[in-house]
């Protein structure tokens, strides 16, 4: 069989730019005139940004107190010792006295911090029922299996809210008292407990089940609170906008933290006389010590902090930008030296040929 010519070009592929790999293209070449200035500019920009971030972070004031109650650290150790080995721990209060030499500029935020608490553990993190928390009545009485062993109570009732995250709700409470004049009475500083959770959490993700006869308690009939809770979920607060699944503390707690050391917002101080901050004077924080952390070697802290445009006190970004900026500039110099040296060598080689 000979090569018979069919119609000329019958099997020929298309001669377009696409099929013949001739597409117009930009072919950049990393030359020294682009790379080196880029490195230096980036380095300078980063150093500038780093300095800004670092000084901004340094300007933030923070005041913290570890009230875990380890022996010898203050009067919360009494509470800690009392609660040792008893579940549920008995009611106990302790106090922290401090004084501010000058105005603590506001608005001031009050946080509690836990250490060595792995909210990011996988089994713990999936132990929740978001359908239940979004107020679906069917899910209220049928919590998902991931909530086990906090799915059904000992009596066989479905737990609402189910899961280990809800069960481990932080239940310490704080109140702040200010002594205006030495020797004078302590006046309570109003703590704004509203709007401490994310807006989307409070308004969209967490919803109470529909009221039955206008009562939230009836809506939760047939369910049981989690084992560690003293009160059922509909009694978390007297305020109807802050009870049930939409209780602000509960919502804040349910937003699980990514690292084993974390802090969560407790309250803002921005009402009345304290809008500009905490004036100088003596203060007392009354702490209701409920939450047991010593069993797992954790710590509890209470923190006062103020906030800037880039958030709380976090020098990491500032320092990191400074380091990377200097690294860029250093590498720019090194590459410049290498470039000059090898350019000379290449010129010599070309001359030799």
């Amino acid at each position: 069989m000979t090569w018979s010519a069919t119609a000329r070009g019958a099997h020929q592929p298309d001669n377009t730019a696409f099929t013949q790999q001739r597409l117009p293209a930009w072919q950049p070449l990393l030359s020294a005139s682009i790379t080196l200035p880029l490195f230096f500019c980036a380095g300078l920009a980063f150093i500038g940004l780093g300095l800004g971030l670092y000084y901004s972070s340094n300007g933030i004031k923070e005041l913290e107190y570890d009230y875990t109650g380890n022996p010898g650290t203050g009067n919360c150790s009494v509470c800690a010792a009392e609660g040792q080995g008893r579940a549920p721990p008995p009611n106990c209060s302790c106090a922290w006295y401090f004084s501010l030499p000058e105005l603590f500029p506001g608005p001031v935020y009050l946080y509690y911090e836990l250490t060595n608490f792995y909210q990011n553990n996988r089994r713990y993190g999936v132990s929740r029922d978001d359908a239940q928390l979004s107020g679906l009545p069917s899910a209220l009485h049928h919590p998902v299996n991931e909530c086990a062993p906090y799915q059904f109570s000992a009596a066989g009732l479905p737990i609402a809210p189910c899961g280990a995250i809800a069960n481990s709700l932080f239940n310490d409470s704080f109140s702040l008292w200010h002594q205006r004049r030495p020797g004078g009475p302590y006046v309570e500083v109003p703590l704004d407990r509203a709007a401490i959770a994310w807006w989307t959490d409070y308004h969209v993700k967490f919803r109470n089940p529909p009221l039955v006869n206008g009562s939230l308690a009836l809506a939760f009939r047939g369910t049981a609170p989690p084992p560690n809770w003293h009160r059922p979920v509909y009694e978390l607060s007297p305020d109807p906008n802050n009870t049930g699944f939409i209780n602000q503390d509960f919502v804040v707690w349910m937003r699980t933290a990514a690292l084993p050391t974390f802090r969560k917002l407790y309250a803002r101080i921005r009402q009345g006389n304290y809008t500009a901050g905490l004036p100088r004077g003596a203060y007392r924080v009354n702490i209701t010590y409920n939450y047991p952390v010593r069993v797992f070697g954790g710590h509890k802290l209470i923190i006062f902090s103020n906030i800037s445009w880039m958030g709380g006190k976090n020098p990491f970004l500032g320092i990191a930008y400074l380091v990377v900026g200097s690294l860029c500039i250093l590498m720019g110099f090194v590459m410049l030296v290498v470039y000059i040296r090898y350019q000379d060598q290449n010129d010599e080689d070309d001359d030799d040929e």
Binding site: M1, W3, Q21, L23, P24, A25, W26, Q27, T35, L49, Y109, Y111, E113, Y118, Q119, N120, N121, Y124, G125, D129, D130, L133, S134, L136, I196, W198, T200, V204, K205, V252, R255, T256, A257, A258, L259, P260, T261, F262, L265, S305, I307, S308, W309, M310, G311, G312, K313, N314, F316, L317, A320, Y321, V324, L327, C328, M331, M335, Q343, N346, E353
Partner: protein, 501 residues
């Protein structure tokens, strides 16, 4: 010209033909398979195993008769057929000619290796007077022992369509082989290597973040990403850019590829993706995953938003790490791409934009209201995310950028070729004047008959009839069609039929 160019690319040419020796040698000289400047052309013409062995060993390297030679040691031990020929450098350009009769002995047992070793040192090898079966044997030998990647190329000539039907590539002229190897073959190798190293890199970064996170989550295998991100990462967000890279990438355009056949050499020596490159890719992946985890971690550690609410939750952390990862691998592929077509731009920046669209869609309020347990993440982006993102991307990219800038300076290859003008080939002194080649087309030597009757050229088949296997095979425009068959005549005396050319 094709063969000259292929020789420049260090491609050795073997010619397997059924022609007579003089014809084959003449054609070899005219096609530049052998050149007049070569240091020597060896003819292997022995009639028995020992002579052939001596010829094979002695003519090229007298040291091979020593006991300490690696091939000799191998031959004594006789291990399995997984021996890879060690790379040996010849001391000059040599050519080898072997005819079918000697080849029949040389393809047995121990001599196979000697033949291969000697032949590998030569610039060109002519095997003449071969039967089709011997051709197959030689190809098999070279393929298995040298273990090079191979393709079959059929050239449709006057002899018909058989080669084309059996081959991986087929075209009509021998000169197109140049384009196939030097342009398309080289591009294909380049693309494959870039694709592989990038693909491994992006998956290393993606996965090794979990290694670092394990230290901080009690080793509980908590994922650092949203589940939907894990699903979509390789499938949607990063598939198109890498597809664009492997379809359109050209490091050197076709004119330069043809002009500088030496650019083909890295492919032959496996320089662009080997164990060392893989380890480099792994180390880069480990470093990137380290940066990708610790920069967001430092950003959110005990920190808050500008309205005081905390941002140290898993959702924000996942969001920062995910977005940094996508940016990081996008910038990495942008650095690797040297040939930016419109389609490349569209794929790369389009995938990035698509990621943000999907992000806003998945994290929107509406979807969460509909499917609360699937789409758990709600929220919006924050300024600290951008700061952390820029930092982690720049920190990852600096080493790659610096390496890419320094590499052509310190280890110059392609760019140096680009800047150097093409050199005129200097013809050295003629060592073998061409007058020595015979101008006769007819052979003065014995024909095929003795070879065929010796029975060394047949495959042993279970039900062998009284005829030789008939094969039609075309492998190049030098080869010929051989039809040989034997018939028993009525009186029982075998007769041979002369061969047709």
């Amino acid at each position: 010209e094709t063969i000259i160019t292929l020789n420049k690319a260090k491609i050795k040419i073997w010619v397997l033909t059924g022609d007579k020796q003089e014809t084959a040698i003449n054609i070899a000289y005219s096609c530049n398979v052998f050149e007049d400047e070569m240091d020597g052309v060896f003819m292997i013409e022995g009639k028995d195993s020992e002579t052939i062995l001596q010829e094979l060993r002695g003519k090229m390297k007298p040291e091979s008769l020593l006991e300490s030679d690696p091939v000799n040691i191998y031959l004594k031990k006789k291990p399995k057929r997984t021996f890879t020929m060690p790379e040996e450098l010849p001391r000059g350009d040599y050519g080898l000619v072997i005819n079918g009769y000697s080849l029949a002995f040389a393809l047995e047992g121990n001599l196979e290796l000697e033949l291969l070793r000697t032949a590998s040192l030569c610039k060109g090898v002519i095997c003449c007077r071969m039967t089709p079966f011997q051709k197959a044997q030689v190809v098999e030998l070279v393929k298995s022992m040298i273990k090079a990647a191979h393709i079959g190329v059929g050239i449709s000539g006057q002899e018909g369509m058989q080669a084309m039907l059996n081959s991986d590539f087929a075209f009509s002229q021998f000169c197109y082989l140049q384009r196939l190897l030097l342009v398309h073959g080289r591009w294909s190798y380049n693309r494959m290597c870039k694709f592989l190293s990038y693909f491994f890199y992006k998956n290393f970064v993606f996965t090794l973040v979990h290694f670092w996170y394990a230290f901080f989550n009690g080793f509980s295998a908590q994922a650092v990403y949203d589940t939907w991100f894990i699903t979509c990462y390789n499938l949607i967000y990063t598939s198109l850019p890498v597809l664009g890279l492997s379809l359109f990438e050209q490091d050197v355009n076709e004119t330069w590829s043809l002009h500088f056949p030496e650019l083909y050499i890295p492919g032959q020596h496996n320089l662009y993706f080997n164990k060392k490159e893989f380890v480099k890719c792994l180390i880069h992946g480990i470093y990137s995953s380290f940066v990708l985890f610790f920069v967001p971690m430092g950003t959110i550690y005990n920190s808050e938003r500008s309205d005081g609410k905390d941002i140290s939750d898993i959702q924000t952390f996942c969001l920062i790490v995910q977005t940094s990862l996508i940016w990081m691998v996008t910038v990495q592929i942008a650095l690797k791409t040297t040939y930016w077509t419109m389609i490349s731009h569209f794929f790369i920046w389009g995938s990035l934009g698509f990621y943000f669209c999907i992000l806003f869609f998945l994290y929107s309020d509406g979807l969460c209201l509909m499917f609360p347990s699937i789409f758990q993440f709600l929220g919006k982006a924050l300024s600290q995310i951008w700061l952390s993102l820029i930092l982690s991307v720049i920190l990852c990219v600096i080493p790659a950028f610096g390496y890419q800038f320094l590499q052509p300076l310190v280890f110059d290859r392609i760019n140096h070729c680009k800047t150097r003008p093409p050199q005129v080939r200097v013809r050295t002194k003629l060592k073998h004047p061409s007058l020595r080649r015979s101008a006769y087309a007819f052979s003065h030597k014995q024909g095929f008959g003795a070879l065929i009757t010796s029975g060394k050229t047949t495959k042993t088949k279970p039900n062998k009839k009284n005829s030789f296997p008939v094969k039609k095979k075309e492998s190049s425009d030098i080869s010929t069609r051989i039809v040989a068959f034997q018939e028993k005549s009525i009186s029982g005396v075998p007769s041979t039929i002369p061969l047709k050319f």
